[in-house]
Amino acid sequence: MSAAGDDRTSGDPIGEYLDQLRAGLRVSPDEAELIVAEAEDHLRETAAAGLAVGMTEREAQEAAISVFGPVPAVVHAHQTRGGRTAAVAGDAAAATWKLASLLVVATGVGGLAADAVRAIFRMPQPAVIMPSGAVPHSVQHPPIHFMVAVTAAVCGAILLTGFSLVRRRQQRRGRLRGPLVGGAFPAVAAGFFCAVVLALLALAWSGPGVASFPGLFIVAYLALAIGYAVRAARMLRRRGRRQGGPGQAA
């Protein structure tokens, strides 16, 4: 095998393709090298056949890549059943991580907003009536509301930053996003935050122990749900335009 991975430039589409393939394969590094070596032999030989029938170097390389198949299809074909399960689990875990981060951030922001509104309008802290009649600790020491909200916002931001860093590292290594954390994420997130809003509304309605419900939490979650729903709709429209071609775009 030639020096795959070294000195790849846009003048070597096969080299770039092999780099993407190597990064996408979820097998041991040794096994990945063997798969890439075999793919390179195939692609270079196909490109040589293209050159022999009068194609330019670039045309021959692009034609060879085209008949070899897109990287995700080849990666998928090389995945064992266990590897596929691991990929699905990884995708679900990543989507859960991002959703949890957003939920915690929104909770913190909602809490801070609620505190700010109470401070501005000099409203009393929310009264929580426990079944036993005892007053919870948080009501005896009002600043704790603020501390909890700040902690939630900071923790959520840290989780979200961690997610972004991991994702960026995976992108640098050429790892492809799974559908849950990729194209389907806006729809998943919109559905999740809608469910959270509905659950909170149901809780507020039935209201055991909740005398004053902080509606700003609902507003925060609802804003996320609407934001992601809009993004999902835009993505669907873009996809529809791409599939329909320029004729249907108008």
Partner: protein
């Protein structure tokens, strides 16, 4: 051709191509496409995992050679692969004969609905 149907028979096709002698991936895929006159035309990159799977199950053996300054993996049938090919070939001929008999019969009925034959002779009871 329907890709799923082709995938279901890919192992037999690969073993059959290699019965002519050891070959590397490119030659196997080219031979598969040429011998089928373009009917069997899967994305080439997805055929290698099938070759690896056949090797894992002991039907093929591979070795690395050097060609045109690159490493090249060459596959060949093992004894187990030869036996498997023979068994699969027999099965396939039986299946194809059965299919042909049924499809040929139904085509005959479709083209000649009455067929000049009494439905009773077709094995139906009215």
């Amino acid at each position: 051709m329907d890709r799923e149907r082709l995938k279901g028979n890919l192992d037999l096709l690969l073993l059959s191509v290699l019965s002519a002698g050891p070959a590397h991936g490119y030659a196997i895929i080219t031979s598969l496409r040429d011998r089928s006159e373009g009917t069997f035309d899967l994305p080439e990159g997805t055929i290698y995992p099938a070759l690896h799977r056949l090797e894992d199950s002991g039907l093929l053996a591979s070795s690395w050679a050097q060609a045109e300054g690159r490493r090249r993996r060459v596959y060949g049938l093992t004894d187990k692969g030869v036996a498997e090919l023979a068994a699969e070939h027999t099965q396939w001929r039986k299946f194809a004969t059965g299919m042909q008999a049924v499809l040929g019969w139904s085509a005959q009925v479709a083209w000649h609905p009455a067929g000049g034959r009494d439905p009773g002779t077709l094995g139906w009871s009215a």
